[in-house]
């Protein structure tokens, strides 16, 4: 994880690079992103401060990239199976709101499915 000053530098360079690739000037990007031209100019000049996450999101959106492509941070490596697990737990959470009978039925189904898979 780079320190704040290095991170600010990476962000500033990356934004400039992506903006120029699109052939946009600063005021075009600022207006597409919905931030002030002064704020964008400060970021590109690299005053050593890391922009807030809201501002990063807005700039990334305008440039049509993911925020991590600007910050240079590794994308959060969420594997497909861990994403499925998360999804499962998000739904499992809802179990509490079901009637006790339905909860029992779901648990029974899960148990039977597990047995089938193991065989």
């Amino acid at each position: 994880m780079p320190n704040k000053i290095d991170q600010a530098k990476i962000i500033s360079q990356k934004i400039k690079e992506l903006r120029e690739k699109l052939g946009w000037n600063q005021s075009k990007l600022a207006s597409e992103a919905g931030i002030t031209a002064a704020a964008l100019s400060m970021i590109e000049k690299n005053d050593g401060r890391v922009p807030t996450i809201v501002v990063l999101n807005k700039i990334a959106s305008a440039l049509k990239v993911q925020p991590y492509e600007i910050t240079g941070e590794e994308p959060q490596n969420i594997s497909e199976s861990s994403e499925r697990n998360r999804e499962f737990y998000r739904k499992w959470d809802v179990l509490e709101s079901l009637s006790p009978e339905d909860q029992k039925m779901l648990r029974g189904m899960a148990e039977r499915l597990k047995n089938i898979t193991e065989k």
Binding site: G34, P51, T52, V54, K64
Partner: protein
């Protein structure tokens, strides 16, 4: 304290970049401005079944939903709750530190110890009352006239406005709430060193209250015995007097500001001791005539 400052700084920087440059800052407009293709933000007022919940925020790094309890009738409190939830969105949900919040008055209005709630409160405070904009309307004196004027300009509650100003000015002040004369709660600035007496208002103290339904908000203070309001001894210093200003609001609530300076110290023959962080001579409250 650190978390609150951190939260306020995040809000102020975000507001400035988004181009908000006049008061009041309305949280729904900020929410609309945060919303973009990469982060969808839904912000709605909704009547909650449970009266204890004031606001909720839930989401991930792609978007979030904020609900604020539509039953909060006071606009200042509604705005503060809304801004607090936006704080959770910007500081905790977007970076995925925590993704779901249900906030009641404990999280939002008490001096609650959870750093995440403190950050959201600091964010709310900085969002509704950005330093850059309020100092055009504030001369640095913490008194009811200034608090009421800023609270009106910022559409924030009197209490939230007091908290913001006391954090910015770092003067020794306390804000004490009574309801029909009975002690309810207090907040103090970090430099206020004395213990607040949790006692009902005496008839003398009630007489000093200015009824702001009928009279203008006062800018001046009364000099009274320190022991009427606080335990006057702390860290080897004894206060003889304090400055107080009490206002009487609707529904029997009264709010009091208590403050002190070097002149309030009881001399023990060795000459007055100097206090840290005392109010400057320019801002010494005047006695009411």
């Amino acid at each position: 304290m650190f978390e609150e400052q951190n939260g306020a700084a995040e809000a102020e920087e975000t507001l400035e970049a988004l181009g908000f440059d006049s008061l009041p800052i309305m949280p729904d407009q900020v929410a609309a401005s945060i919303n973009c293709d990469g982060f969808k933000l839904v912000f709605e007022a909704k009547e909650f079944d449970s009266g204890g919940i004031l606001g909720t925020a839930k989401g991930n790094n792609k978007g979030a939903i904020v609900y604020v309890n539509a039953r909060i009738s006071d606009l200042g409190r509604f705005n503060f709750t809304a801004a607090h939830e936006l704080g959770h969105v910007c500081m905790h949900i977007m970076p995925q530190k925590k993704t779901s919040f249900k906030c009641g008055s404990k999280e939002i209005y008490s001096q609650y110890d959870d750093p995440i709630e403190k950050e959201a409160n600091g964010f709310a405070s900085g969002l509704l009352m950005p330093k850059r904009l309020i100092y055009n309307h504030f001369d640095g004196d913490i008194n009811w006239l200034n608090i009421a004027r800023l609270s009106e300009l910022c559409k924030s509650s009197l209490e939230a406005t007091y908290r913001r100003l006391s954090n910015l000015e770092n003067l020794p002040t306390a804000f004490i709430i009574h309801e029909n004369g009975a002690f309810r709660r207090f907040v103090t600035s970090s430099s206020f060193d004395f213990y607040i007496e949790r006692t009902p208002l005496s008839s003398y103290q009630q007489d000093l209250a200015v009824d702001v339904k009928e009279e203008p908000y006062p800018s001046d203070f009364e000099t009274v015995d320190a022991s009427d309001w606080i335990n006057p001894k702390s860290s080897g210093i004894c206060l003889e007097s304090v400055y107080v200003s009490t206002i009487l609001l609707n529904d029997g609530f009264s709010y009091t500001i208590v403050t002190y300076d070097d002149d309030c110290i009881l001399e023990d023959g060795a000459g007055p001791k100097k206090l840290d962080n005392v109010i400057s001579s320019e801002s010494v409250p005047r006695e009411r005539s």
